[in-house]
């Protein structure tokens, strides 16, 4: 039972004490939940009328939620697809032997990592509206993708860099010993191995991207999942709480599957590694918000 090294195997007294803690904790939690439940039902927020749209009939889903979810997924997928190669280029550039490549790449990466995604999105939106002829249908998507790409490419650059650095030095040395050029070493020896090592971290970054699309809904007018709450709750009689809860649940399910997929990947890779070496854990790479708390 006591697999933890932090506490001893529990004797009768410790067990009794744990039971007391458990009971107190359960009571506190139950009291809180009961209070929330009572307040919500007093305010009529749990009325079946407010929740009915989501459980009887598919109208609410096909009119509001699914189109929003589709936009969320499109924005996330497009951002990932653009940010990944861009990030790889910058990550490799930071490892270059030439100062004039390494330093500018580092400056760009550090700059975009230091700025909030929201600021980048607001900037993108204004940029597209003032200087380009992108139609208003597409503009929010472009703005959201621009913000996400600029930020996430920088984070992915760090993941790529860490992935390559995590490879055993022998790989580079062996490649040099058989006379491969630097480019050849990178493309045929280092990158293929680093990519597999980075997969869990990349999938986790996808979670960050999915969450960040919601910024576009709340502040810009990107019609993603969170933005669907507004016409939906006005149509169903201000069922704001119900709508928000449903949308939050969809985000949790979506992102939790991605997170679980990432850790499954990581476990698989750790078990499977025979020759090459490191695997980047989803949260292993530093950098503000990489797999970590971006909005």
């Amino acid at each position: 039972m006591s697999s933890s090294v932090l506490y001893d195997a529990q004797g009768p007294r410790a067990k009794r004490r744990n039971v007391v803690y458990t009971v107190v904790f359960v009571l506190a939690l139950a009291a809180l939940l009961w209070w929330v439940y009572r307040s919500l039902s007093d305010k009529g927020q749990l009325d079946w009328e407010k929740w009915k749209p989501f459980f009887s009939g598919s109208e609410a889903w096909t009119t509001y939620i699914l189109p929003g979810l589709k936009n969320t997924l499109i924005a996330a997928a497009v951002s990932m697809l653009i940010a990944l190669p861009l990030g790889a280029v910058f990550g490799i550039a930071r490892l270059s032997d030439h100062v004039w490549v390494r330093v500018p790449a580092a400056v760009v990466v550090e700059f975009f990592r230091a700025i909030p995604v929201l600021i980048l999105m607001i900037f993108g939106n204004a940029l597209f509206s003032q200087y380009t002829s992108v139609s208003s249908d597409d503009r929010p998507l472009y703005a959201v993708v621009t913000g996400l790409v600029l930020y996430n490419a920088s984070v992915l650059a760090e993941i790529v860099r860490a992935g390559i650095l995590a490879l055993p030095k022998g790989q580079t040395e062996a490649a040099q010993a058989i006379g491969l050029r630097k480019t050849q070493t990178m493309t045929s020896i280092l990158l293929p191995q680093a990519v597999t090592a980075m997969l869990p971290a990349i999938v986790s970054q996808l979670v960050v991207i999915v969450k960040d699309t919601a910024l576009g809904g709340a502040i810009l007018t990107f019609p993603e999942l969170l933005a669907a709450v507004s016409p939906m709750s006005s149509y169903y009689g201000a069922n704001t709480i119900a709508s928000f809860t449903i949308v939050a649940l969809i985000f949790v399910v979506l992102n939790f599957s991605l997170t679980s997929f990432a850790s499954w990947l990581e476990r698989r890779l750790r078990r499977g590694k025979k020759s090459t070496g490191a695997v980047l854990a989803p949260a292993a790479v530093g950098g503000p918000g990489s797999a970590g708390p971006a909005a």
Binding site: F25, S39, I122, A214, L215, A218, I219, I241, V247, P293
Partner: protein, 221 residues
């Protein structure tokens, strides 16, 4: 060149950003540590609670959490956090939302720090007869904290940037001011540059200073 700035309280907006950051940082450090303690503790129910909390909160967009504090806690449950004026209430709600969100990441950082403390440390402490709380607070956590200065710095920098989300419930911080300025003024690139610069000024020194601190306090093994 910078006359478009006149009439706007730029420093005031960034001061709100700083306040949000500092208050939420302290709060999430405390709550995050408690969550980490729950997750490694001997009471199964608390472990379950900690795990569930982290897994749910980490996977919800911060925007949803922030909007929920306002619409759910304030508008529905009538929680006012001791204030009557909506400006004050919204600021406090934003801090609360940021704490709820950030503490999940603090918890995970600290938990990874606990894993870096050699097993022998905890075993020796237990051999002395220390209880779980004593092992954790006297022996393990002090060492764990030293090794997670780096990850916690990243969380702090992310938190600084995440305060912009408070704009969603109308807290007058930097991002809200930027949006307002872009709507009213023509100098898009300059305005963006000013705000970008502001955040670089806030986050870059944090990273450098705490990076140095991290090296300084790291336990040499």
């Amino acid at each position: 060149m910078f006359d478009f700035l006149s009439g706007y309280d730029l420093l005031g907006a960034f001061w709100v950003t700083v306040q949000l950051t500092l208050l939420a940082a302290v709060g999430s450090l405390v709550w995050g540590t408690l969550l980490a303690a729950m997750r490694v503790g001997p009471v199964p129910l608390m472990r379950g609670f900690g795990t569930a909390y982290v897994n749910i909160v980490r996977n919800v967009p911060l925007t949803v959490i922030i909007l929920f504090t306002s619409l759910g806690l304030n508008q529905t449950l009538n929680i006012k956090l001791g204030a009557e004026n909506f400006d004050t209430i919204n600021f406090r709600l934003a801090v609360l939302g940021l704490i709820a969100y950030t503490s999940a990441f603090v918890c995970e950082a600290i938990r990874s720090g606990i894993n870096t403390v050699p097993v022998g440390q905890a075993e020796a402490a237990r051999a002395l007869g220390l209880s779980f709380t004593q092992v954790l607070t006297l022996v393990v956590l002090p060492q764990a904290f030293r090794s997670v200065v780096g990850p916690l710095t990243n969380v702090l920098i992310a938190l600084t940037k995440n305060t912009t989300v408070a704009a969603a419930i109308g807290v007058a911080e930097a991002a809200l001011l930027m949006k307002k300025m872009i709507e009213n003024e023509a100098e898009l690139l300059l305005i963006s540059a000013v705000f970008a610069f502001g955040f670089v000024v806030l986050t870059l020194p944090t990273g450098l200073i705490l990076g140095w601190v991290g090296k300084k306090v790291a336990v040499k093994r």
